[in-house]
Amino acid sequence: MGKLRISIPVPRFLSAGEVFASAGSLGVLRALNAAKAAVLLSGSIARNDEIMAHIRKSVGALAVAYFVVPAGEPRLENLSELQREVNAFRPDWLVAIGGGSVIDSAKLIWIHYEHPDLELERLVRPFGIPPLRGKASLVAVPTTSGTGTEVSSSALFLSHGTSEKQVAVSHDLLPDVVILDPKLTIGVPKKVMAYCGMDALAHALEGYISRNDNILVDQQAESVVRTLFSSLEGAREQPTNLELRLTIMSAALTAGWVQNLKLPGIGHAIAHQLADVGVPHGLAVGRLLVPSLQFNLNSEKVNRKIEALLSRWDGGTPASLLERLEGLATRLGIYDDFQTFAPRLSQNDICKRIVTGAQRDICFKANPRDAQVSDLEGLLAEVS
């Protein structure tokens, strides 16, 4: 049965069809029982013989084809060759194994496999995508911990020469199966662990104070904040500590729920634009988290909400939370790494483009406090 169609924003909980989480849970793929499975992989996974052997052993399909997804942010024109190959294979399952970009790419491939003539206008119209699953279903296997796309109803992409991020939104994009297997994260670089961790933290915190209320995930957001403060640094330092890695993966998935059901705010709105100047998404949201929260703390309601979070944690003040966030980001190298990009942001034309793009971003509307152009410029100035 499809999801209920509601036209008013009532708090609801939506997730992928099934979620599996344990070390070695990749083996669940054996139960797919597909006729033809198209496995879409990141280049790094494809080059990892050990993981590939594991994958080859695991996929339960009569015919399996492996496809490497082009690196970088999904861009429609870069996916066309891959699209042709997948279409020709005619799979009944798509299995995406990789980071957020791989999973988003797989979602886009899936949409166009089912609807080859879908126009861009309809692709980006919120909930404008016709129903999926007439031909195939989707498994998402994240290999990083942070984007939350494995439980999101959207796919971010760039299209045809533009640098502006676009988004396809449909609850049909929630995968049928999600597998969290910490073994796949063993080789993930520390930087990536840090950036993704900060992305998850921003999903949780920005989503927690979002204009969109949703009591169903607020407590989970609080839990994510606590978990990431307690475990992120350890997980980054101990790649083989599968228990810690799984904790972070689980927290990132939970933060994905918060992001999907409440939407983050201006930190994400600006960060989406920074991709254009080459700033990795996790780095951008990590650097913008404190200034954007500080901006929002000027709202009484946000203050009360943060106080509630802290009261169920260790009783600190909003100001102390800002300090702790700054400390974590600093220790994870976020502030230092961001300095590489900072000078470019102060350029007038770039700044203007970022501010304009941020105002159009879907997250901008979810921010709890109304932000003016000068506010956005102020935030940018603070980080540049």
Partner: protein, 845 residues
């Protein structure tokens, strides 16, 4: 009737019928008509109600003849008794038209009317043939055995002419089959006698007969025997009865005159056609020159638009209205006929005064329409006539479209188009080539086929598209139906939730131990009975998606729209994801053919080869098709004749806003496809009991919404016969009930509180509101001939009604305003599912 009017009419009859100046005639005729109107108003209740509903009082002051209310000719078919204006004992004779398949018209004639008829006829015939009595040879059987009291109008017409005969000879006899045959011996003897025997020797004579009988039953046999005659100089051939049957046999007026003048040794100008009709018996209109008629002093003619009934400018074709004050015993003074014609320019130099006009033939008779000819008839642009020449051939299949090439002469509108299409030498070879073309289709994914069809359909309504004129006749709907998202949804629904079954094996029940695949059935034979090109596309598209080969057999009245639609695929190439999708790949797997019903061999060959036989049409048509020999495992998909209605509960009449909403949606359902869809409602059962709105109030509001719907959903062209049908429907309610209607024939809402029953469809936005105390009263009226019941009910009443309705055989219960959305399932089935074979691999579980 007062003596004043008698004098006025007598004065008119006393005039030279063709010698009066127009101004004088107009004034005299207008006065006489006004008096005749008053007479019938005061003496005929039905005429009075008819007039009052149009705001005419007895003493209405008429400014011109165009102002008179006009009675549709059908009134005399259905309500002759109601239209009588004199007491029963004054009626001397009932005249009845000679209708064979239709309901005959009847008029009640009293002494006064009969006398006027004779005078009028004598005046016109005298002016045409001369006042001297002449011998008549009548190409008919002797009518003297006809029963008195109910005299056939044909016989009456003949008798009227024979009043001017000095001598009469009948030269036809009644064959045992009931038809007339020439008694050649009697004919030759008559000619001989009349030309040699005193006192008629050498005198000009009149050969008199009905147009068709005269030519087909008398002249043709004589011509075939190479006979020729030389009638005395000044003789005339006079014929009455109309051209319809001869036109069907492709005999033009020119050929008629040429053949007859040559056969009887006369000039073309000696052959005179008299036009007239039963309802104004006594008034006749001879040719004043070939094909040109002229109204005498005591009648006039007006031409009206079939759709709006507005008077059209001179020269334009429309329905002929005739006015004459002669009828005294029945209210037939102003009659709108279903004959088409046009006003011709005045000829100042002619000795014949009076409005000149031309009769262009009878409006095509309305046919009984089933589901099979919904929408379709509205998009007919160049019908092909019934190719009778083919009907007699044992094997005469014609190729109308194949291999991406149309063989129909586009836009010719010629009836011979089918005959000019190439003969199919070997129907099996054609089917072989279609089946072979499936190989290419198999290389396409279902979504690639959908993409191709959807892309082509996007252009159907472009301004420069030859299809654009059909926008409001169903094409707009077809285009949106062909949009890829819709086709994918249909395919998913029909194929167990996944159209992907068409592209490869898929696991079932979550296990790949058992896989399932949907494969094309093979060859689908479509019988598009009764002009169903657009409907044919709906099933053709679904069959193509399943990658079947398709052979489409069209009806004899084939429309050019289907080839036009198919031609939009010719040479189309669309690049999608590195693959070029070609329209020709689809076209190569389908062919459109025609063969007459007599071509048993072709019918058997196609039916015997088909893996799916798909038939649209009326009961007879679909039964004939399903009765053909077939493969034992062939699938039959039948879209037979169906009707639909609507039920509106009192809960939808709770407030002004509710009533308006329900009326707006009802208007949409009634207006879409002008009611030619099998899902269009013809009867609306409205429940009583709402404090706020009665069924009658709903009817009033519906009238407003029907008017608005005309702008939202413009109406297609209305043929003259449909227009006549609408008028005759209105007439009943004019005389005996209530209705709401547009000024023209655009829409009509009849109110029927007397009988709880389904109304007979009239189509063209004519709907009947039937009040019911409880919607349950509708249930017994429903059966398996009802396709859709639009449900204007809420909550549990909706479910309860639906449960009872399906128990009676109803197949769809859509919401108001959505009745005509072609959906899946349709007629109780998912069409695509019936066009595939389900194949399993592995298992069983």
């Amino acid at each position: 009737m007062g003596g004043a009017q008698e004098n006025k009419i007598d004065a008119l009859l006393a005039m030279d019928p063709y010698g009066v100046e127009p101004e004088v005639k107009n004034a005299k005729l207008l006065e006489a008509m006004a008096e005749a109107h008053r007479w019938h108003f005061e003496n005929c209740l039905a005429y009075r109600r008819f007039s009052e509903k149009r705001d005419y009082a007895a003493d209405h002051v008429f400014g011109c003849l165009k102002d008179f209310p006009f009675m549709p000719v059908q009134a005399f078919k259905f309500f002759p008794d109601a239209l009588t204006s004199v007491a029963g004992e004054d009626i001397k004779v009932r005249l009845q038209s000679s209708a064979t398949s239709n309901v005959p018209s009847t008029i009640h004639v009293d002494k006064i009317t009969a006398k006027r008829q004779v005078r009028a006829l004598a005046a016109v015939i005298g002016a045409t043939l001369g006042s001297k009595r002449r011998p008549f040879v009548v190409m008919d059987a002797d009518p003297r055995q006809a029963k008195a009291g109910a005299l056939g109008a044909r016989s009456a017409a003949v008798r009227g002419f024979l009043n001017l005969a000095s001598k009469v000879e009948y030269v036809m006899k009644v064959h045992k089959s009931g038809g007339l045959v020439l008694d050649e011996q009697a004919f030759c003897a008559s000619l001989d006698k009349l030309s040699k025997v005193e006192p008629t020797e050498g005198e000009p004579m009149v050969l008199f007969g009905f147009t068709y009988v005269l030519y087909h039953e008398a002249a043709l046999p004589l011509m075939e025997k190479k006979c020729s005659f030389s009638l005395p100089a000044g003789s005339k051939i006079v014929h009455i009865g109309g051209w319809k049957k001869l036109e069907d046999r492709k005999v033009s007026k020119e050929k008629f005159c040429r053949d007859l003048s040559s056969l009887f040794g006369l000039e073309d100008s000696d052959i005179v056609d008299f036009y007239g009709f039963t309802e104004q018996m006594g008034i006749t209109y001879p040719d004043v020159s070939l094909g040109v008629k002229c109204a005498p002093a005591f009648s006039d003619v007006i031409v009206r638009d079939p759709k709006t009934h507005e008077v059209v400018p001179d020269g334009e074709t429309g329905l002929l209205q005739f006015l004459t004050p002669l009828p005294h015993s029945y209210a037939g003074i102003s009659i709108l006929t279903d004959d088409l014609g046009r006003i011709l320019p005045a000829d100042g130099g002619s000795a014949w005064h009076g409005r000149r006009f031309e009769v262009l033939g009878r409006a095509k008779a309305a046919e009984i329409r089933g589901c099979g000819d919904m929408m379709a008839e509205k998009v007919v642009s160049n019908r092909m006539g019934d190719p009778e020449d083919l009907a007699s051939l044992p094997q005469a299949a014609r190729l109308l479209f194949a291999h991406g090439k149309s063989h129909v002469i586009e836009g010719s509108g010629e009836e011979s188009s089918i005959l000019e299409a190439p003969v199919i030498e070997d129907i099996h070879a054609l089917m072989d080539s279609l089946i072979a073309s499936q190989e290419v289709l198999r290389t396409y994914s279902v979504d690639e086929i959908i993409t191709l069809i959807s892309s082509v359909s996007d252009r159907w309504l472009d301004e420069d598209s030859p299809l654009a004129p059909f926008k409001y006749q169903g094409l707009s709907f077809l285009k949106s139906w062909c949009q890829s998202a819709n086709l994918r949804r249909l395919a998913d629904e029909a194929l167990r939730g996944h159209r992907g079954y068409l592209d490869g094996f898929r696991p079932t029940h979550g296990s790949n131990r058992r896989l399932l695949r949907a494969v094309e059935k093979g060859l689908v034979a479509h019988w598009l009975a009764g002009n169903v090109p657009l409907l044919g596309m709906l099933t053709l598209v679904q069959s193509v998606l399943c990658r079947n080969a398709n052979i489409l057999k069209t009806a004899s009245s084939f429309s050019g729209v289907l080839p036009l639609l198919l031609e939009t695929f010719v040479d189309v190439e669309i690049e999608k994801n590195g693959r070029v999708l070609r329209g020709n790949d689809i076209l190569n797997s389908l062919g459109v053919v025609y063969f007459p019903s007599g071509d048993i061999a072709t019918a058997h060959a196609i039916s015997g080869r088909a893996d799916v036989r798909l038939a649209w049409g009326g009961r007879e048509a679909v039964e004939a098709i399903t009765g053909l020999p077939k493969k034992y495992d062939a699938e039959d998909i039948v879209f037979g004749p169906k009707l639909s209605c609507m039920v509106i509960g009192r809960e939808l009449l709770g407030s002004d806003e509710d009533i308006k909403r329900a009326a707006r949606r009802t208007a949409t359902d009634v207006s879409t496809f002008d009611q030619y869809a099998c899902a269009s409602p013809h009867t609306i059962f409205v429940e009583m009991g709402s404090v706020h709105g009665t069924p009658k109030h709903f009817g009033e509001i519906l009238g407003l919404e029907m008017e608005k719907a005309l702008k939202r959903i413009p109406k297609g062209l209305v043929d003259a016969a449909t227009s006549a049908n609408i008028l005759s429907k209105r007439l009943h309610y004019d005389f005996f009930g209530e209705y709401w209607a547009s000024l023209g024939t655009e829409w009509t809402i009849l109110y029927e509180p007397e009988k709880i029953e389904l109304a007979t469809p009239t189509y063209s936005r004519v709907v009947t509101i039937v009040p019911v105390e409880d919607v349950q009263e509708v249930i017994p009226l429903l059966d398996s001939s009802i396709q859709s019941v639009g449900l204007g009910l809420k909550d549990s009443r909706k479910l309860e009604f639906a449960e009872m309705a399906i128990g009676r055989g109803v197949e769809r219960l859509p919401d108001l305003g959505r009745m005509t959305h072609f959906d899946s399932p349709w007629d109780g089935m998912y069409v695509m599912e019936r066009m595939v074979r389900w194949v399993s691999a592995g298992g069983p579980m």
